[in-house]
């Protein structure tokens, strides 16, 4: 079943066309990986899915993106509600400068949850789902900025989970982390896909192969190839894909 449907999407930063006629359907409860060289539009596409590109002046699109059949660029769509449904984890871990507890409670409070007991429950559940409860349960009231980079990133995942999203977007979530933290996040992603639809940008081909079900290869704003991960890596159809994954890309 497809969760997100992208049709004939063109995106421009002022005059620069960053995405060219992208068509893609992203399956629910799967991990979809975006790969491709720097500047090919991976981040741009992932940001169209929760409309973070609204912040960039001069950015405009044509074509359509739907979430469960609803046009997310439609006139009466509530952007804040969309971003609640489509969560995002950034490349650089960005916990807020407040306690671990307040970081997790930030989203629920934003959406009207204020009862202490309820918040306590959400905080525990989110941290558990992000596989970091055990490490943090005794220091919930300490500043989140004191955590290691890997812990911070998992905290950010927990923070995103706390608003009960349906889709989780991750833009190079492990590029700032050490191998052990990376492995933990990958493992976590595999667990999360049971309940969420995941989209992950990565520069690490091994990572795409290890965790994703479907992979899209981008080049200069175009989707060159989009298929099952195993197929894409073992029998790429397009010559350019093959060059890229074998490292022969000039």
């Amino acid at each position: 079943m497809s969760k997100i449907e992208i049709k004939n999407l063109d995106l421009y930063y002022d005059d620069l066309q960053a995405l060219k006629n992208v068509n893609m359907s992203i399956a629910a409860n799967r991990i979809t990986a975006f790969i491709g060289p720097s500047g090919c539009g991976k981040s741009t596409l992932i940001k169209t899915l929760n409309r973070m590109n609204d912040l960039i002046p001069g950015c405009h699109i044509t074509g359509s993106v739907t979430l469960d059949g609803e046009d997310i660029y439609g006139k009466d769509l509530d952007v804040n509600l969309l971003r609640k449904r489509v969560g995002m984890v950034f490349q650089k871990p960005n916990p807020f400068p407040m306690t671990i507890y307040d970081n997790i409670a930030y989203g629920p409070r934003t959406h009207g949850v204020h009862r202490k007991a309820m918040l306590d429950e959400i905080v525990e559940k989110s941290l558990q789902d992000a596989a970091i409860w055990g490490e943090l349960k005794d220091r919930l009231l300490k500043s989140a900025l004191g955590l290691s980079g890997g812990q911070q990133q998992r905290l950010c995942i927990a923070r995103a989970l706390a608003v009960q999203p349906e889709v989780l977007l991750m833009d190079e979530p492990t590029s700032a982390l050490d191998p052990i933290s990376t492995a933990k996040i990958e493992e976590l992603a595999l667990q999360l896909k049971e309940h969420y639809t995941l989209v992950m940008v990565t520069h690490n081909m091994q990572q795409a192969l290890r965790v994703s079900d479907t992979t899209a290869f981008f080049l200069l704003g175009e989707v060159v190839e989009y298929s099952d991960t195993e197929k894409l890596f073992s029998m790429p159809v397009d010559k350019r894909t093959e060059d890229y994954i074998t490292g022969r890309f000039g």
Binding site: N50, M52, L55, N80, L81, L82, R83, K84, G87, M88, F90, K92, N94, P95, F96, P97, M98, Y106, G107, T110, H111, S143, L145, C156, R159, A160, V163
Partner: protein, 288 residues
């Protein structure tokens, strides 16, 4: 090249030394001239006395209690902060996060100008506008604590606004984005994610505003009434530590003169404490 570098280094070091020497000299002068007073007059009586009656006719019966001025300074500063603090902070946040570029182009030079206006000009504005306004609206003479608070509130605005602006501007964009990505509105993101990150900077802005308010002299002298007695209400006149010095220094002699210098010492200690607080907050902000 080598020589030029050496010379320049020497010039830098010399400039720095001049600054340090100036500060040290002021301290030494102030304390050297202020301390003798406490040999003749009880420190406690000086700080807690409510009567200020200098020995102008040389009868040897001067009473020097500066509690009214301490309280006056605190009242006026607190009032100024109550007025200028919230407005300055909110305006600074507005300029840093919400104001359209065109408006910013007008506002920024205006704030710089406002910070540069000499305080005697503010004082004139106070006398010609605020004093009559307070007199008409609230009664009394118009020369009052309230008037001083209003005027000082306006005067500390640019300080608080500009520092708040820089503090908020310095917050990395990823806090804002992280909050938006959770479904928060832009306003909520600014107030709940960006502002907490700028907290220590904003506090520092407030502390510096306090420093400005407590040290302000000319404008306060012009609108506050300057009665050396315990302040009795918002609409009554008041004398601050600074105005005490400036109104009487011209004709004071001997013990009276020393008492005024001692008032300066007290003021200096206040400012020292505020600056200490400021640097502690700043350091905390850098490590957080």
């Amino acid at each position: 090249m080598r020589l030029k570098e050496r010379v320049m280094r020497w010039v830098f070091a010399a400039s720095a030394s001049v600054c340090i020497a100036a500060v040290v000299l002021i301290c030494v002068f102030l304390f050297a001239n202020g301390i003798p007073f406490f040999k003749k007059y009880d420190l406690f009586a000086f700080l807690s006395g409510t009567t200020w009656s200098p020995d102008i006719y040389d009868t040897g019966k001067g009473v020097y209690g500066i509690l009214p001025m301490i309280v006056g300074s605190i009242y006026v500063t607190a009032g100024a902060l109550l007025i200028g603090g919230p407005i300055g902070i909110l305006a600074g946040v507005y300029m840093a996060r919400f104001a359209p570029k065109n408006l910013l182009k007008v506002l920024q030079p205006m704030m710089a100008l406002m910070a540069g206006i000499p305080s005697v000009v503010y004082g004139f504005f106070g006398i010609t506008n605020l004093v009559p306004m307070v007199r008409e609206v609230f009664g009394g003479t118009g020369f009052s604590i309230l008037t001083a608070c209003l005027l000082l509130g306006i005067m500390i605005l640019p300080t608080i606004l500009q520092l708040t602006y820089s503090a908020v501007k310095a917050v990395p964009e990823y806090y804002f984005e992280g909050s938006l990505a959770l479904g928060a509105t832009e306003e909520r993101s600014v107030f709940r994610a960006v502002m907490p990150a700028a907290k220590s900077g904003i506090l520092a802005a407030v502390v510096l505003g306090i420093g400005r308010a407590i040290g302000e002299t000319m404008a306060v002298v012009m609108v506050a009434g300057n009665q050396a007695r315990m302040p009795k209400g918002l609409l009554k006149g008041v004398r601050t530590l600074t105005s005490n010095i400036v109104t009487e220094m011209g004709y004071a002699a001997d013990m009276h003169r020393e008492a005024l210098i001692a008032t300066g010492v007290v003021l200096f200690v206040f400012i020292l404490l505020i600056n200490l607080l400021f640097s502690i907050l700043k350091r905390k902000g850098e490590t957080a």
